[in-house]
């Protein structure tokens, strides 16, 4: 065990850096959320109020957006797990020659700029986009499906962004399972399905949970994609905060919303990492 002063010396640069360039700016923003905002006049100096927070809790619109954001986070996370697991399993356990190409194809789309990627989706998902045109030409639907400015479009766009993150974390988790355990279960008479549900899945749960936390957090604070694929009719917390900051210039409400969102996210991370520890048997 090395002395603590070495640890301090190693960790201090990052700790000080974050203190100077993250904690300080954010702390300076905190008072803003307790200020009063007068439209057209700006932030009233010297006023202190809890009103912004009270309004967030009392206003049914804010509550709706908050639940929608959390719901969206959960839905995208779930979609990423469901779509990502077979792919991760294939990468981790499939033929070795497919490993590298598949991995590259997972990482590759991450390189596409988010704004441009959203344009790509718009071209695909619009009422007269590629998908609707194809379906109509095939005679499968009579009128275009609404694929944008609603949950569907946002789910598709956000799942596409965060799926690679999930796949990469799941691959690592699946690789870490000792194969003997699965063989042991099989010799004890388990079917493939049972081995998967009773052994493989629980053993990858911590990795899956870690990936889920990451995807969830990134989803609920995503801005560009919700703005472009969700539009004004499907607002989430991040776009609402953006609007308060950038459209109405009501920074006090905006920062109060931001701290509420951050608080929610931290609470969820904390709760789920406790859950992970319990699953992993270390709590």
């Amino acid at each position: 065990m090395r002395p603590a002063r070495h640890g301090m010396a190693l960790a201090a640069p990052l700790a000080l850096f974050l203190a100077a360039f993250f904690v300080m700016p954010v702390l300076l923003t905190l008072p803003t959320s307790f200020r009063e905002y007068v439209p057209g006049m700006g932030i009233t100096a010297g006023s202190w109020t809890l009103g912004n927070y009270r309004e967030i809790l009392a206003d049914s619109y804010y509550r709706e957006v908050m639940w929608r954001t959390l719901g969206l986070g959960a839905a995208v996370t779930l979609a990423c797990v469901l779509l990502g697991y077979p792919l991760a399993f294939m990468i981790a356990r499939g033929p070795a020659r497919w490993r590298m190409p598949m991995m590259m194809l997972v990482i590759f789309p991450m390189m596409l700029n988010l704004v441009v990627r959203s344009f790509g989706w718009i071209a695909l998902l619009a009422n007269r986009g590629l998908v609707n045109n194809l379906l109509m030409d095939l005679g499968l639907i009579a009128a275009p499906l609404k694929l944008m400015f609603n949950l569907t479009g946002l789910m598709i766009g956000l799942t596409h962004i965060y799926l690679p993150f999930m796949v990469l974390m799941l691959v690592a988790a699946i690789q870490n399972i000792p194969r003997d355990v699965e063989v042991a279960a099989m010799t004890l008479g388990s079917s493939r399905l049972h081995v998967f549900t009773a052994i493989t899945l629980p053993l990858t749960a911590p990795g899956m949970l870690a990936g889920s936390i990451l995807v969830f957090v990134l989803t609920i604070s995503a801005l560009v994609t919700p703005r472009m694929l969700g539009g004004p009719t499907f607002k989430v917390m991040a776009t609402l905060i953006y609007d308060e900051y950038m459209q109405t210039l009501d920074w006090p409400t905006g920062s109060a919303l931001a701290f509420v969102l951050s608080g929610l996210a931290i609470a969820i991370i904390w709760a789920s990492s406790r859950l992970t520890r319990r699953w992993a048997g270390t709590a």
Binding site: F17, M104, F119, A172, I241
Partner: protein
């Protein structure tokens, strides 16, 4: 040999997901060749004009340079700061390491618009506004979580006695890290650096507040032109960027084989 190998349905599902991941890439690449002056799919007529336009426009080129510089610079700084701290955390060398971990991850949680405005206010106060240093620091803040996360994971999987063996064999602490630990965690770090690089390369909400008039980044330039209409040159530039980063990715893979360690 274990029987838990993917069977045909799994393989089909996996390839379907791979296809899903490539779809918008294909759309954008195709749109880059369209003769229309707006983004459209399928392209109407084929042209290379947009590539020519982008490659001859100094604004796009300098934005690309700026973005790549910023992404590379912040990734390097984040690697140095992040790996050192992760090392201390992983080896339980300091009290309160859980708090430090939480602090490092916090920028992921905070909505980035708020970080952007907060930093603008703060940088105005301390005189860093519009400076490259300030922008670099901001990007380090948003990229360092990915580095620390992957470094912690890599270090956690490492046998602590390897470094001790090196020490007993006569290596100094730094030598032991350089000769033993670093080569072993490098693939994990490459993966973390990849996330960091992409995060920096894609960032709009923080960057947009901190750039100065003479420097802008690619995503900010694209984002600001959205308001005034997007022509296929953004698709062309994205295509170019994808090709370049794709090649970098392949080279990195060749050199480190990092895909096996993600």
């Amino acid at each position: 040999m274990s029987d838990m190998m993917p069977r045909r349905p799994t393989a089909i599902a996996a390839w379907a997901v791979i296809v899903f991941l490539q779809v918008p890439v294909l759309v954008v690449v195709l749109a880059a060749f369209s003769t229309t002056s707006y983004l459209t799919i399928p392209p109407q007529g084929w042209t290379l004009a947009w590539f020519g336009k982008v490659l001859s426009d100094p604004a796009w080129l300098s934005a690309i340079r700026m973005s790549l510089f910023l992404a590379a610079g912040s990734t390097v700084v984040a690697l140095v700061l992040g790996v050192a701290a992760a090392y201390a955390i992983a080896h339980r060398m300091l009290p309160g390491s859980e708090m430090l971990t939480a602090l490092v991850m916090a920028p992921l949680v905070m909505p980035s618009v708020v970080i952007g405005v907060a930093m603008l206010q703060y940088f105005s106060l301390i005189g860093l506004r519009g400076s490259l240093v300030g922008l670099l620091c901001a990007h380090v803040v948003i990229t360092v979580p990915y580095i620390v996360r992957s470094a912690l994971a890599s270090l956690g999987g490492l046998d602590a006695s390897l470094e001790e063996a090196a020490r007993v064999l006569g290596a100094t602490g730094l030598e032991a890290f350089r000769l033993v630990t670093l080569p072993l965690i490098r693939p994990g770090l490459v993966a973390g650096a990849l996330f960091a690089f992409i995060t920096s390369l894609d960032n709009v909400p923080v960057t947009i507040f901190l750039i100065s008039a003479r420097q802008t980044t690619l995503p900010v330039l694209i984002f600001s032109s959205v308001e005034m209409g997007v022509d296929p040159s953004v698709a062309a530039i994205s295509t170019l960027l994808i090709v370049v980063t794709g090649l970098v990715l392949l080279v990195a893979e060749r050199r480190t084989g990092f895909h096996r360690f993600i």
